[in-house]
Amino acid sequence: MLVIVVENAPPRLRGRLAVWLLEIRAGVYVGTYSRRTRERIWTEVLAAIGDGNAVIAWAAPNDAGFSFDTCGVNRRVPVDFDGFHLVAFHPQERD
């Protein structure tokens, strides 16, 4: 099982993701693929994300039961708690 969420992504990337995955909400894609296919899809995201940002999560045999990876800038940033990944939410930057 894998989930990809994109924000501010160019329409061509969203169209490309919809080739393999089901867009269950705006920018939220779900599917079940092998590791190799998942990595291939993620490379396409990395190449086409532009100024947007994306996150991918997939089922994995670890303590949490899943892993995730991100690209682009987002206020939510993964943090490592002794090998367990949580997400830190950064406050709005003041100008």
């Binding site: 045999p61 303590d63 039961g65 708690f81 002794d82 090998g83 949580l86 950064h90």
Partner: protein, 314 residues
């Protein structure tokens, strides 16, 4: 709950076997925001911790916890353990024990009955070494046999990982004085004790009523943890110690040990096995669970289906 009341009803616990093992929180203000368990650091960065998804949360020096956060952890059935350097236990709370009088009474009766206690200690021996305990031995004799086997196992495992091993030694007052394998072991056993205490409480038993161990707040926890020690945390600790000896650690010793432990807990399915093994060893005592006295007052109202384990409230 009436529609006019704000918020949702409190979260109910989920079973221990469905949870992740444990997490260490090092610094920050722990609070509840929008009903979720959050660590806020000095710069305002918020990190959510899915509190009910963990068996226990270890709070290291540098954390401050709000009243609401402790209440939330308790409702979610998650044990909070305040730990000092290297996981030395200071205080634990969050999942209040003693939610099941029938189980506590049964455990106490088993511990007080010499014949039952011996049977349980024999069962622990069997669970631990995978073979029945030698016949006609007292608890004291069994403890002696166990001690010898344990020392041998430490030596054997240390050799396996290419470590120099003298003996299990540590000074609670001067933690950094211990050698690397012992330091790793202390950090690793701290993780196991946290999880075991969670399981003992979640199953509805008292951590203090031990069978082989006695006289400590966690006597029963040590009893249960010993069964899994050589399968989980000792290999994890020695593996890390071996890597630390070769200076191949990217992180601190404690952090590396915890990673290794978490991996071991998952691979050995520890959380799924803890509660059944507790039931298993107590059943070996062969005493019936006590019925409530006939003249006792029964509950005035029915509770709903329990959502977590037997010892969880709610």
């Amino acid at each position: 709950m009436s529609a006019s009341m704000p918020g949702l009803s409190p979260p109910r616990p989920i079973p221990l076997k469905d949870r992740s093992s444990l997490i260490f929180v090092e610094r920050g203000q722990i609070d509840v925001l929008d009903g979720a368990f959050v660590v806020v650091d000095a710069t305002g960065i918020r990190t959510h911790i899915p509190v009910g998804g963990f068996a226990c949360i270890m709070l290291e020096p540098g954390t401050r916890v709000s009243h609401a956060a402790v209440a939330l952890a308790a409702r979610a059935g998650t044990l909070l353990v305040w730990v000092g350097e290297a996981g030395v236990r200071l205080y634990a709370s969050g999942q209040p024990g003693g939610a099941r009088a029938d189980r506590l009474l049964w455990q106490a009766r088993l511990a007080l009955d010499e014949a039952a206690r011996l049977k349980i200690v024999r069962k622990m021996f069997e669970l631990r070494f995978g073979e029945p305990a030698p016949e006609r031995r007292s608890v004291d004799q069994l403890r002696g046999i166990e001690g010898v086997r344990v020392r041998k196992t430490y030596e054997l495992m240390a050799r396996q990982y290419g470590l120099t091993w003298n003996r299990r030694a540590y000074d609670r007052m001067d933690w950094s004085a211990a050698d690397i394998p012992n330091r790793c072991l202390s950090a690793a056993t701290a993780c196991l004790y946290g999880l075991t205490e969670t399981a003992v409480l979640a199953a509805g038993y008292a951590p203090a009523i031990g069978f082989l161990h006695t006289g400590k707040p966690l006597s029963f926890v040590y009893d249960v943890a010993d069964i899994f020690k050589f399968e989980t945390v000792v290999p994890a600790a020695f593996k890390t110690a071996a890597r630390a000896g070769g200076d191949r650690l990217e992180r601190s010793i404690e952090s590396s040990v915890r990673r290794e432990c978490r991996d071991m807990f998952r691979r050995t399915n520890l959380l799924e096995r803890l509660i059944p093994s507790i039931e298993d060893m107590l059943s070996a005592g062969d005493l019936p669970r006590p019925d409530p006295p006939v003249d006792a007052q029964l509950p005035a109202f029915e509770d709903g289906e329990p959502s977590g384990d037997a010892g969880h409230r709610g």
